[in-house]
């Protein structure tokens, strides 16, 4: 039988042309938490964040919720952004919150690429999708796929 399972679900919406809004949840046999995070598309900076801690192991764990605010101002394009998130949100707050923020960050370029592909397919349903992806990657050298 399965003795440990962890699921992460990350959704992205575009409330306006300048912002991507992530909702991320992480649920496993031990912990469960959720964050909402707004990112400015132009520079990938986290501009707003909030979170809920739903299942935890220690009475101090909910104290990690306000620590999430230290993510505001971090750019998901700066060198070592994921290590900074783990350092600031994880070690001073909760590593599981940090894991969700990092997974949202890893989805940034996938979500932007997916949106552009979706728009392109509306114009040309016979579009070569593999070629579109390759061209998109070449035209965006600063992306971090993952």
């Amino acid at each position: 039988m399965i003795t440990f399972n962890r699921s992460q679900v990350i959704g992205a919406e575009f409330p306006d042309d300048k912002t991507i809004r992530f909702n991320g949840t992480q649920e496993d046999h031990i912990y469960a938490m959720e964050i909402n995070m707004d990112v400015r598309i132009a520079d990938a900076e986290i501009i707003a964040i909030n979170g809920v801690i739903k299942r935890y192991t220690n009475f101090m764990c909910p104290e990690a919720v306000p620590v999430l605010q230290t993510a505001v101002g971090i750019s998901l394009r700066e060198d070592g952004w994921d290590r900074r998130v783990m350092r600031e949100i994880g070690r001073k707050g909760c590593e599981h919150f940090a894991e969700i923020v990092i997974e949202c960050g890893r989805c940034l370029d996938q979500a932007l690429m997916s949106k552009d592909l979706s728009v392109a397919l509306e114009k040309d349903p016979n579009l070569d999708q593999e070629q579109f992806i390759q061209t998109w990657i070449e035209e965006h050298p600063d992306i971090q796929l993952g």
Binding site: A12, E13, M60, R91, C94, E95, E103, A111, L145
Partner: protein, 162 residues
Amino acid sequence: MILRFLRNKVVEVEPLSDGNLAVSWRLTDDLLKAEINLKVKPPELEIVEAEASLDRLPPKAWLSAPQLIKKVEGVRVGSGLRKIVRGLLGGPDGCALLIYAVLESSNAVILHYTRPGIAARENLSDEEKMALTKEMLKNNPRLVRSCVAFQDDSPIMQGLDL
């Protein structure tokens, strides 16, 4: 507002009848479908088998993932793992997704071992839990300042000189 992008990711640990642990890591989103399977042998927690498959619209640079993942066979889940895995699977010809998958799978193996201890503490009194947590910190000082609960100003740290 409806979503424009959705990613689902799951990692599972399953003990096998031969004593090994099977770890299944799977990801699916609008553009990518990935599956990484590891077999981990206790007690050294050596990765004895590793397989990967990528589907849907993966970047061309990642098409070598099924061959690349073989590099972690023989690696042990333990100290220095992050650096070792980044060294083996990273770089210009590497695949970031495989790094994340192997590290998250390894973390799941650790949590597989952690879960019974946490479950055993659930019915203890608050005082007993506090005493046990303090004892754990004394035995594992690397946990000090590793999260909000173990910061210097936390009530848990009171009376501990760590």
